[in-house]
């Protein structure tokens, strides 16, 4: 039953399995074990990033193409919900309309970009997505009467998900609409990740991996690589859109910096590379590590910066504003020395002595 649920793609390492179970249980019990808004916010962000990074892994890890427009689709999902909720009102039909509209926009956009750039050369894809994504981000902040511009949109969610809605008390914790929203996001994310596992372990997923390993050969065997690559990018875009929907529902706000910024794109890249490319599980591990580090390590950097305040250059380098510097160094080092990521390392340990 459990094997079927994860599409026969078992963790294949005792430590990895343990870590995954720990993550799922911890996320499920966060409201009860770690009280407080910050812990809940961090947990919700972890969940959203797991979906976002796992969908990116379908592209980067399984198909072997780099897209810089992933946050654009993430943003489309979030803006879809935000715009529908502000224009129509905080009702379920409005929400559904927003999600459907966002999915449609992402579908068309990713199909056009994919067909257009992958037809010529796969290497164009990275450059063209970068250009389109930056143009989209500019447009989103310029169309202020529609998207709220730089300020973004703050909106209301349906009654049932509001913090003011009380459902009684459970195990000593007041179960309100906020918690209901958290568990809704949790369940949807779980389903989405399992669906992604299903996709990558299907015959379609195998073709994608064949293209990643040797596209010329895959084409020669008779698979239209353009079609498969485009389908993979469309699927990945749709999942990213849904991740954006989840984030918007949780935050009840969306703006350019929360979903469209290039920093988020880097976070996703880092999550996938550190967690392990080509293993959906890597996205889970990577997201937990990165989001926790982002939320708690920056406090540590603040302390360190305070300690070396007098020293001129060092104080600058360890200041929390230079967080991205350390991410970048970590990123380059992990691409060089750690290409299989955490999951790859754990699996090769589990597989017995390392082959020389």
């Amino acid at each position: 039953m459990l094997t079927r649920l994860v599409s026969h793609d078992l963790p294949k390492s005792r430590w990895l399995a343990l870590a995954l179970v720990l993550v799922v249980v911890a996320l499920a019990l966060t409201p009860f074990v770690f009280p407080g808004t910050k812990a809940l916010n961090v947990a919700a962000k972890v969940i959203v990033f797991i979906v976002l990074a796992a969908s990116f892994d379908l592209l980067l890890g399984y198909t072997g193409i780099v897209s810089f427009a992933h946050t654009m689709f993430f943003g489309i999902g979030a803006y879809g919900v935000a715009i529908a909720a502000t224009r129509i009102g905080p009702t379920w039909p409005a929400l559904a309309l927003g999600v459907a509209g966002a999915l449609a926009v992402s579908l068309v956009l990713s199909l056009v970009i994919g067909l257009f750039s992958l037809r010529v050369r796969a290497i164009f894809f990275a450059m063209i997505t970068l250009a389109v994504a930056s143009a989209f981000a500019t447009l989103a902040s310029q169309l202020s009467e529609f998207t709220g511009g730089e300020d973004g949109l703050t909106f209301k969610v349906p009654e049932a998900l509001r913090p003011a809605t009380e459902y009684g008390s459970f195990l000593g914790v007041a179960f309100d609409g906020r918690l209901l929203a958290y568990y809704a996001i949790f369940v949807v994310a779980l389903v989405l990740v399992l669906a992604l596992l299903r996709i990558v372990n299907s015959p379609f997923g195998r073709v994608l991996q064949a293209i990643r390993e040797n596209d010329f050969r895959a084409e020669a065997i008779g698979y239209r690589t353009v079609v498969y690559r485009t389908l993979a990018s469309v699927a990945s875009a749709l999942f990213a859109t849904l991740a954006g929907v989840l984030l918007a529902i949780w935050l009840r706000y969306n703006g350019p910096d929360t979903t469209l910024s290039f920093e988020i794109m880097l976070d996703v890249l880092l999550i996938v590379v550190i967690g392990g490319m080509g293993t959906i599980y890597g996205a889970v591990i990577g997201s937990v590590l990165l989001v926790l580090a982002q939320n708690y390590l920056q406090d540590l950097m603040k302390l360190a910066a305070g300690a070396v305040q007098g020293v001129p250059v060092l104080a600058q380098i360890v200041s929390p504003d230079r967080w991205l510097l350390w991410l970048g160094i970590l990123f380059v080092l992990s691409v060089y020395y750690f290409p299989a990521g955490v999951v790859g390392r754990l699996r090769s340990r589990g597989a017995g002595p390392r082959r020389v």
């Binding site: 072997g64 143009a135 880097l266 990123f331």
Partner: protein, 345 residues
């Protein structure tokens, strides 16, 4: 392919005759003229049109300077450098430092003195960016030759590190970069006003263009570079170290990116930490339009993008970014490998 066959057949009949000269393709160049002329009735007043066209050509030249290195690096070694934006930012930031350092002596001096300051800033930008290019090539690019996916990831990572270090040195705030006193304002050509700084950019761009064309077409190194772009293995098997050549091209390309960034900053009169990223997007569009690896294509692409951006920026400012993307789409539909496709790729 079909167009080559008759030529080959013709030359084989007369043994010993020189290889037939490749016909020069003028259509893309005409396209630049056509777009400029087509914009005239849309823009309306001729004086505005002259201003916009000069601004477009200046922007095109700057983008060409910055992009020429990128396209050669790709053509020579198949290295797709996403870290090119770093050198652009470096050039722009160094210009602010040079201006600040020389502000005292230049404040009261003549136009010659101001031009000397600008020249010093450009030279310094080229030197620093070129040196950093060498370091970048050694530390970031060299370990991942031949692996496209890793190249993209690692060069992006390198660019992030570099740009954060720039923020450590120059601070995260935007820095104004006003042109020197005598180069401010604009000249009046009839009713059209042309900013002086743009003229400087056009002149510098032309100098770089001539220098580049001369190096590529009239020197042995240029011959090797062009041959390497066409067929790397053949050049290697003739005994030339293409790797060493590549390092040189990488450093020169980075230096040109620094120069481009320096000029871009002076034209914008402000330097922000995002400058590299903004220009980089344009560079990618330009080298895709031109055909990866082609210098001439890079020039034509840059001029097209520069003109298009300025016309659309005047007519419908919100669509500026999409106009270059639309242009790229149109060009790729017409010629999927870019305006001047490089053979054997």
């Amino acid at each position: 392919m079909t167009s080559i066959a008759p030529a080959a057949a013709a030359s084989s009949t007369v043994v010993g005759e020189a290889i037939p000269r490749a016909r020069f393709d003028v259509v893309p160049l005409l396209l630049v003229v056509v777009i400029a002329l087509a914009a005239l009735p849309v823009v309306g007043s001729p004086s505005t049109w002259v201003t916009l066209t000069v601004a477009g050509l200046a922007m095109g030249m700057i983008v060409f300077i910055a992009a020429s290195g990128l396209t050669l690096v790709f053509g020579l070694m198949d290295v797709l450098n996403f870290g090119h934006s770093l050198f652009i930012a470096l050039g722009a930031y160094l210009a602010t430092s040079v201006f600040a350092a020389l502000a005292g002596p230049a404040a009261s001096s003549s136009r010659a003195g101001d031009l000397a300051v600008v020249g010093a800033a450009m030279l310094a930008a080229m030197l620093l960016a070129g040196t950093m290019g060498l370091v970048f090539e050694r530390l970031i690019v060299r370990p991942v030759y031949g692996q496209h996916l890793k190249q993209i990831l690692v060069t992006i990572g390198g660019a992030i590190i570099g740009e954060e270090l720039i923020k450590v040195v120059w601070g995260p705030a935007q820095i104004p970069l006003p042109a020197p006193e005598s180069l401010r304002g604009s000249l009046l050509l009839g009713e059209a006003s042309v900013e002086k700084m743009r003229l400087v950019s056009v002149v510098v761009g032309l100098v770089v263009l001539v220098g580049l064309l001369w190096t590529l077409n009239r020197t042995k190194i240029g011959l090797l570079i062009r041959a390497g772009v066409q067929d790397r293995e053949m050049v290697e098997s003739l005994g030339y170290r293409i790797r060493r050549l590549f390092v040189g091209v990488f450093a020169a390309g980075s230096a040109l990116a620094g120069l481009g960034g320096c000029l871009w900053g002076m034209n914008q009169q402000i330097v922000t930490p995002q400058i590299g990223g903004q220009v980089n997007v344009l560079l990618f569009i330009v080298i895709i339009i031109g055909g990866l690896g082609s210098t001439l294509g890079c020039l034509v692409g840059a001029l097209l993008v520069g003109l298009m951006t300025n016309y659309v920026g005047f007519l419908a400012p919100k669509l500026t970014m999409f106009s270059s993307i639309g242009l790229m789409v149109a060009v790729l539909l017409w010629r999927p490998q870019g305006l001047y496709p490089v053979v054997n790729r």
